[in-house]
């Protein structure tokens, strides 16, 4: 088949990638259904969709990790079968994964030739790679020190190495899976510049993301996926974030948070000179000070891995630290790592960053999870036994109040979608009516519909006069929910701003560790 038999279109250009009726099912789940896309060469094509919409499955098919049940793949007009990633590479497809596939203690050069060495001795391959790396760096502004160890590079530079790896393998088509998830706004902008440059040099880029703003900023065409299907492919210039969100979810979505003016009261949480040294002796928190008042949300912004997780763990009572933490003027124990029960008794609730590793027991039912952490409460005991019937009934009621689906408390946590799992955690923590709520990454891996609901719950709690500490790597989320924003970098708080008086640019600089102006 050639492109000429396609009716209704009159391009003379052959698409770089054309997928025709790709379908893939896992058991009863139809992950991809009759997907047809054409990606034109020399463009940036975005694929957007919620978690579980089938984006990753589609990319895995394109990169040879999965085999499609039916459908055809055309690369530059010729039908290509991609049984494994070697075939994808020789078809000119390069993939940059969300989680990099780099050997940490190898140098950049060694990583680049890994798997494509020409012969038993490394020296000629390394020399060849060094030469071509210099050329690539010049051509695409992809500057990386070829002799640096990966572990010494910043995340943004590691990502460049991934891109270089693909280019070194002669990739003409680059697939990037959620590439900005781990980058600061500045690093993300640099990445976008590189992508533009690559596009101008004739490369084709397929960008997978759930961030509407990225799609609007850098793509030429966008395809929206919902429940395994492509629901629309439109030129980016002819659409809007609201329209895309509606296509993704299938109904109208409120993208802005409805925020009433804050009425901050007394200091509920007061943290002074908090320091954490981890088990290998690295200082993760380097003397952090802040406070949270009743009726306000303090947002902690920052790139993942700058001490936010440790901060939540200390406040949640399962990480040793030094310094003082007061709840309602009363000092609490921070020198021991098993204070979870006493924290809860002090009116602190915690929605942890990772619901699958921390917030829930995936193999427990929803009703068992509904008291997780509170299983010692007097109210749910029946003599020496737990009152399981009462817990089940209460869980059923919570499921209805939080619209958790499917509404069955006997289902295991792992059988719920990400958004509904998060609602199970949220229902448990918010319904305790805590004095202070810690929330980590409340909407990570949660679909847009549920995000709206979760944000509303957090704002309701704040308007009831509770203190909320919000940690998120999504800058948009921090900006729209918080009253004050503290930015963490390398275990320190770089600065604190009022949400109404700052913007993404200023916060982005702080996130990169650059001190700006005064508080």
């Amino acid at each position: 088949m050639t492109i000429n038999d396609k009716k209704g279109r009159h391009e003379t250009v052959v698409p770089a990638i054309e997928l025709v009726n790709i379908s893939k099912a896992f058991g009863a789940v139809q992950a991809n259904k009759d997907i047809s896309i054409r990606v034109m060469p020399g463009t940036i094509h975005g694929i957007i969709g919620e978690n579980g919409a089938g984006k990753s499955t589609l990319m895995s098919i394109l990169y040879g990790y999965y085999k499609a049940d039916k459908g055809e793949i055309f690369i530059k007009g010729s039908q290509t079968s991609i049984p494994d990633s070697q075939a994808a590479i020789s078809a000119g497809i390069g993939m940059v994964f969300q989680h990099f596939k780099l050997v940490q203690n190898f140098t950049v050069l060694e990583n680049i030739i890994l798997g494509v060495e020409d012969g038993a001795m490394l020296r000629p391959s390394l020399a060849k790679a060094r030469k071509s790396l210099t050329e690539l760096a010049k051509e695409y502004e992809l500057n990386v020190d070829p002799d640096a160890n990966i572990e010494d590079l910043s995340v943004g530079h590691q990502q460049r190495v991934e891109i270089l790896k693909a280019l070194y393998r002669q990739a003409n088509i680059l697939i990037l899976d959620e590439p900005t998830g781990v980058l600061t706004p500045a690093e993300a902008n640099q990445l976008f510049r590189i992508l533009h440059r690559l596009r101008d040099e004739g490369k084709t880029i397929l960008l997978i993301t759930h961030k509407l703003r990225e799609i609007m900023n850098i793509t030429e065409t966008v395809s929206v996926m919902r429940r395994g299907e492509i629901v629309a492919t439109v030129p980016t210039s002819q659409t809007s974030p609201e329209a895309l969100a509606e296509l993704m979810v299938g109904r109208k979505v409120l993208l802005r948070v409805d925020k009433k003016p804050a009425k901050p009261g007394a200091k509920i949480l007061d943290v002074k000179n908090l320091r954490v040294v981890d088990e290998v002796g690295i200082e993760r928190l380097k003397g952090v000070d802040f406070h949270v008042r009743s009726g306000e949300v303090l947002g902690i912004a920052g790139v993942a891995g700058n001490g936010q997780s440790e901060l939540l763990a200390v406040l949640g009572g399962y990480q040793k630290a030094t310094g003082t933490v007061k709840i309602n003027e009363k000092p609490i124990e921070v020198g021991s790592a098993s204070q979870g029960q006493s924290r809860r008794a002090n009116g602190l609730s915690h929605v942890p960053e990772d619901r699958q590793q921390e917030g829930l027991i995936m193999e427990f039912t929803a009703w068992e999870n509904s008291v997780f952490g509170y299983h010692h409460d007097a109210g749910i005991q029946n003599g020496i036994f737990m009152n399981n019937a009462a817990i089940r009934n209460e869980a059923q009621a919570k499921i209805e109040r939080f619209d958790i689906r499917p509404p069955d408390p006997r289902l295991k946590a792992r059988n719920f979608s990400g958004g509904n799992q998060q609602k199970i955690v949220l229902a448990r923590e918010i319904e305790r009516d805590p004095e202070i709520l810690l929330v980590g990454q409340p909407t990570r891996g949660v679909d847009i519909g549920a995000i709206e609901f979760i944000h509303r719950q957090i704002m309701t709690l704040r308007d009831k006069g509770k203190a909320v500490l919000l940690v998120s790597v999504e800058l948009d989320e921090v900006l729209s929910l918080s009253d004050r924003i503290a930015v963490m970098f390398d275990g320190n708080i770089m600065g604190e701003r009022l949400a109404s008086e700052t913007d993404e640019k200023e916060l982005g600089l702080l996130m990169a560790g650059v001190k700006t102006g005064t508080n």
Binding site: F26, G27, A28, G316, G317, Y318, A337, S338, Q339, G340, Q341, S342, R343, R344, H350, P352, D354, Q357, E358, G359, L360, I361, M362, E363, F364, E368, F372, G373, H375, H376, Q381, I384, F385, M386, N388
Partner: protein
């Protein structure tokens, strides 16, 4: 992925595994020139055909229930307690000390006291590996195996040098006083008009094993402690978040596990031998691992698997006695059962799962 129905999970899969083990065993028996049908007949009659056979089957099953429960409890906290054997040996020491040095007025009080003593000694032997695991990170699989050897050595020393009656040449304690002798199933069933074989070792401990199974069921699924144990086993990081102290849970779980393994020695030492001998558990601590695997760490499953292994032990002994099948082959058959029901579980489970999904799908399509 469709979920496999519960009946298939707990009944169908183990049955098919057993059948496969039986088929291969039959092939091996044919290969050495014997008749497998004859062998099966002999095993069934030998183990279940008389109250004598039942007496031995239940006696073995009692041992396996205790050690199987011990492994199960630990397994709910994802602790792999391989030390049931050693914990049972030291439990036996607890029984012997209590039975010999305390003047018990009646067997019932003696049973209570000796059970406590057995549990405490067994728990102590589980405590040390638990502390090493929880505080120092020494892997519990390694330490519990090591502690089996230490237990054997310790018992050897105690029996030869301390507790052996001076005139005896046998590395064993003196016989326990008559007031500590437990009623056998013969004694218990006589008032009901059932003439149970007088010569078998099955005794009242069988009922205690049942009580222990009920206790474990309540503990694991109905109490806060069981909830904490299961949480810790399913996800250490989540347990930390919930304020569950990992050191405390590890130690408490191993105390319970060791205690259960120790209680096994009531059956062997107080019920059967009526004195403490070397190597009293005879490998029951290890069979407990297979029993727990096959019973999916559920007390009911453990009881059923224990009965099966009791049958295999007694039936196997009969085979060795009456057919030209060597003793070693019996071990092979038992090993095949362990292999198929424990280690190769997924080999059967996954195809069955796929098959049921297909059946369900075609059912839905109609």
């Amino acid at each position: 992925m469709q979920k496999i129905p519960q009946w298939a999970d707990v009944v169908l899969v183990p049955l098919i595994s057993l059948l496969l083990a039986a088929i291969i065993s039959a092939l091996v028996i044919i290969a050495i020139g014997q008749d497998p049908i004859e062998a099966v007949k002999l095993m069934v009659i030998g183990a279940l055909g008389s109250t004598y056979g039942w007496g031995y089957t239940l006696y073995y099953a009692t041992n396996f229930i205790f050690t199987g429960l011990a492994v199960s409890v630990a397994f709910h906290a994802k602790l792999f307690n391989i030390g049931g054997e050693g914990q049972a040996m030291i439990g036996g020491l607890g029984v012997a000390i209590a039975a010999l040095y305390i003047p018990w007025p009646h067997w019932s009080i003696a049973l209570l006291g000796c059970t406590c003593s057995a549990a405490i000694f067994g728990a102590l032997w589980g405590y040390l590996p638990a502390i090493l695991q929880a505080k120092r990170g020494s892997h519990i699989v390694i330490t519990t195996i090591m502690f089996n050897f230490i237990a054997a050595g310790l018992l050897n020393y105690v029996l030869v040098n301390v507790m052996r009656p001076p005139a005896s040449m046998d590395p064993a304690t003196a016989s326990f006083p008559p007031a500590t002798h437990l009623p056998t199933l013969h004694d218990l069933l006589m008032p009901l008009g059932i003439n149970f074989s007088r010569t078998t070792p099955a005794n009242i401990t069988f009922l205690i094993a049942f009580l222990a199974a009920v206790f474990v069921w309540l503990l694991i699924w109905k109490t806060r402690l069981g909830y904490s144990i299961r949480s810790f086993g399913q996800s250490g990081s989540a347990a930390k978040y919930a304020g569950i102290n990992p050191v405390k849970i590890t130690v408490i779980t191993m105390l319970i596990s060791g205690g259960l393994a120790g209680m096994m020695s009531i059956n062997t030492t107080m019920g059967e031998a009526e004195r403490l001998i070397l190597n009293a558990p005879e490998g029951a601590g290890f069979i407990g691992i297979a029993v727990a695997l096959m019973g999916r760490s559920h007390p009911l499953g453990v009881v059923l698997a224990s009965l099966l292994f009791g049958f295999l032990y007694q039936g196997g002994a009969e085979l060795a006695m009456w057919m030209a099948i060597p003793r070693e082959l019996i071990v092979v058959i038992q090993a095949l059962v362990i292999l198929f029901t424990g280690a190769l579980d997924n080999m059967v489970r996954l195809p069955i799962n796929a098959l049921l999904t297909i059946i369900q799908k075609s059912g839905d399509a109609k």
